[in-house]
Symmetry: C2
Subunit: 543 residues, 2 copies
């Protein structure tokens, strides 16, 4: 460890020489932080090497017109821990590992901070990529050699998709809601999933779920008097988007003791408290399966939630991006639309937006940025405004649109690709279930750690009962106790997790979020390193 | 004009009351409107068929919680004509054409409303699509048959790109600024273009130019006291984004008489006027080559603009997405960064953001949604905030990132694809130049029409000197006179153009924007139809 600190310091001096100034102070802070846990909690990463002629300038001495004081304060307020400080430190370590291999007690950085399966070796579904390649370079469809290289149903599907695109032009802007034929396929997929009708005109295709969430926040939030009920812990997209649009996050706490249960009494309590402060609560955000918490809601619970929204006049924002990620036999995913429709609630009764993404599920196509929102229960004049927002960005990317349609209408029995598709899909999902179980059990064996099972999604969110001495040390280092733990973990093991404080949590409790995504053969080593680190951490700080 | 706005608002309110009519009735209304010019000017299109159980509901009788009164008023205020009312009418006509072929005096709708080249038959650059297909389905790279199907340099390039992506995972989220190796290629391309250094850490890759513009507006605008100087006429992305972020558009008028000249005296006048109203002007947006106006700025003029920004402490937002689209031998594109650096201004002297897109140029890959902004001259703490904004959306789509790198580092002499690449590129650009010239000459032959040449970009923006009788007829029909003309044109010819009022213009003047993008073999027919229509329009309304 000592050797590590020295090498870091040396490194820092080199960097400072190499890189002119504005950054060297912050770099040093961060490097030292990485080594000593004395990091001040920075609001965001410093990832830039400055250009050469910036030398010697910094924000205080510069004559440049834009300063932190003059920019939009909502931007300053926004936080996004999933790509925050710890990840930044990890990226620096990774760079340094290339040069100073022997300086660290680990060989590689393992990114368990973000649901990014393919970055950790998960292979894409072959059929999906075949179709994408054929639609990218359509000249392939005219070559006989293509039949030897591609499955026959991928060729058929590519033709079918191209026929749905005016002029077969995958390089053209589409309708701002997405290509109609692809929305037809998605609506059919939703109908098959739910057993209730879905309308392609309700589908707004997006570059991933995030832009859809931003669009709805932009629509619903006029000022800080507009509130959005969000689960705590929550995926920080919600807090970030609400901050950027100047609204109020109205927290409702999930009950860790009952497996991150969502209690209607808690919703009511928080709604009333917000109203008593003059906040108009516009919507309820529910993440199911949960992120970072991994719970899968019971259908009965979903019914109560629908009734609550109906009664209180709230838009239900249903983040359903993990709908394919359920790992336990006693739980099943039900879309909120299916639940609402099965209760007899139609378009006139409830405003419901369901977000879906191609980044999650068994496909994990994060880099393709595709997804959609199904928007139901809005009057036509309000929907026109949503359409206008979509049209200002013209359309989402067509590759992502194609993948979103494939995800909702994969190969069927009898198709050339069907068997291999099912094998790939089930291989990924059963392996994820195994990894979730192994990591959960390992975490529960650690002193002072309790961890609910990951029923779904891609994360574990263990609670760490930190010793007072560790909390005091974190305070002395001006960092949150869970961030202190996570930085120590990173420096000792190369494992990157996100402190619970990035997701919010019951005050006085400490957690971290760890994905279940490292490949199966890496899990034993991760468990060993984590166990060893935790033991030595507790030995150092045990009260 | 004021009367016109009031009548619009009234109209909207009436509609809201009147229309329980979900769709078929409103559809008919619009179709009739299209035919008779009596269309109420809707703020945005009605493209939705509502689900069946919406029948009979409307916003006033519904118990749904979201109404036009309760949503964010900034969303209501935002307008985006490029996909607005006329396009909406055109889409309905197109649908109806399929059923009622004989009811119209034309066979097809020709979309000249938007710079979307591939929708009108422009073919993508083969090399770009080869690389994209190989990166989409990387298993192809292991097959020997691939060598018969792809150019050898596309295979080499695909390998090179994959080697730059951690784990070769094109399906993984990348760094929030984009894949480092691809940013290296872009920076090298900028250096080659400008002859001045470019730093890959200054590049933020985006899903097209629009999200980059939104990001900068979000950063710079805190309230309506923050102003952005924008050209008039302007591409409505700017007015839309400023409205959505709650800022003030400070107009500066381009001088039509001098070929849409940008006068510094006009900038100064408007800046001072805005300041006298208590507005802090944060930035100057310049579109070069111009949209919708098509002018290419002279280098000397650019120097004055840089000096103006430097002196007045403004961020220079340089929309340079048409940098490859220059059609006249006496003009040349110079990036603002090159101009600033050649004046001796470095990072410390001027805040400059250059936007580039893969949607324009000779490549026209609109549907792939790729682009970047080069952000220079900001202090590191402000750049961290820009990074944070990028990170909240995780990353731009990887296919778009790959294409952006290809566009900035295309095949070189000696590469397998070089000759065919150059032939494709020059074929497209020389044809665009020809089409621009033909359309410009045709427009200038029309009675009462004057049209500056399209030196660059993809548009002509003719001025139509409308007879008083036509203006009166438009007022009677509660529509702007240029919108009245454009609707008539659409109904008579199937040609879709956008009224100048969607881009703003000197009050009392009337224009429309027409792209130069229909394929060459369609141009003579377009010219004929346009000429014939214009003649009969003037015959009907000549004073």
């Amino acid at each position: 460890m000592r050797r590590f600190v020295i090498s870091q310091a040396k490194n820092l001096i080199d960097q400072t020489r190499r890189r002119p100034l504005p950054n060297h102070k912050s770099l040093r802070l961060l490097s030292l932080a990485a080594a000593s846990d004395s990091a001040p909690v920075l609001s965001s990463p410093r990832l830039f090497s400055s250009s050469s002629d910036m030398s010697g300038s910094d924000s205080s001495s510069s004559s440049l017109p834009v300063t932190l004081d003059s920019i939009n304060p909502k931007v300053l307020k926004c936080e996004y821990a999933v790509r925050g400080e710890i990840v930044n430190i990890a990226q620096r370590l990774q760079e340094d590992l290339k040069i100073n291999k022997d300086a660290y007690p680990f060989d590689e950085i393992i990114y368990c901070n973000i649901g990014n399966p393919q970055s950790l070796g998960q292979q894409p579904i072959t059929f999906f990529r075949e179709v994408l390649a054929l639609c990218s370079h359509t000249a392939l469809l005219d070559e006989s050699a293509t039949h030897g290289l591609f499955s026959s149903d991928s060729i058929d599907r590519a033709w079918k998709i191209l026929d749905q695109i005016p002029g077969k032009a995958t390089g053209a802007y589409s309708h701002s809601q997405g290509i109609k034929g692809l929305r037809d396929a998605i609506a059919a997929g939703i109908e098959a999933r739910d057993g209730f009708p879905a309308d392609p005109n309700d589908i707004f295709m997006t570059d991933g779920a995030s832009p859809g969430v931003h669009m709805m926040m932009q629509l619903l939030i006029s000022s800080e008097k507009d509130g959005i009920l969000c689960p705590i812990p929550q995926y920080p997209l919600y807090s970030a988007s609400i901050a950027l649009h100047g609204g109020s996050l109205v927290p409702y706490y999930l009950d860790e003791a009952s497996g991150w249960g969502l209690e209607i009494s808690e919703l009511k309590k928080q709604l009333e408290e917000a109203r008593s402060k003059g906040i108009t609560v516009r919507a309820l955000a529910v993440i199911n399966p949960g992120n970072p918490t991994g719970q899968v809601l019971a259908e009965e619970n979903q019914r109560e939630i629908v009734d609550f929204c109906k009664k209180e006049g709230l838009v239900l924002l249903a983040d359903e991006v993990y709908q394919e990620n359920v790992y336990v036999p006693d739980k099943k995913f039900h879309s909120f639309k299916k639940v609402a429709r099965s209760m007899g609630y139609g378009e006139k009764d409830i405003c419901l937006v369901s977000f879906q993404s191609i980044s999650k599920g068994y496909y994990g196509e994060c880099g393709k940025r595709g997804g959609y929102m199904e928007v139901t229960g809005f009057t036509s004049d309000v929907r026109e405004q949503i359409y206008k927002l979509a049209s200002v960005n013209l359309c989402s990317n067509i590759s992502g649109q194609i993948l979103a349609s494939l995800v909702m209408s994969p190969p069927k029995p009898g198709d050339d690709s069907y068997d291999s598709y099912i094998a790939e899909k089930e291989g990924i999902l059963s392996s994820l279930a195994k990894r979730a179980k192994t990591l959960e059990e390992a975490l529960n064996k650690l002193e002072g750690v309790t961890c609910n099972r990951a029923e779904g999604a891609m994360y574990l969110f263990p609670c760490i009962n930190l010793p007072q001495k560790a909390i005091a040390a974190a305070e002395a280092a001006k960092t949150a106790p869970d961030a202190f733990y996570c930085k120590r973990l990173l420096n000792a093991t190369g494992i990157v997790v996100v402190p619970g404080s990035g997701f919010r949590q019951v005050p006085g409790t400490w957690h971290f979020r760890c994905t279940i995504l490292p490949q199966e053969d890496k899990i034993p080593a991760i468990v060993n390193r984590l166990t060893e680190f935790h033991k030595s951490f507790m030995d150092e700080f045990r009260d």
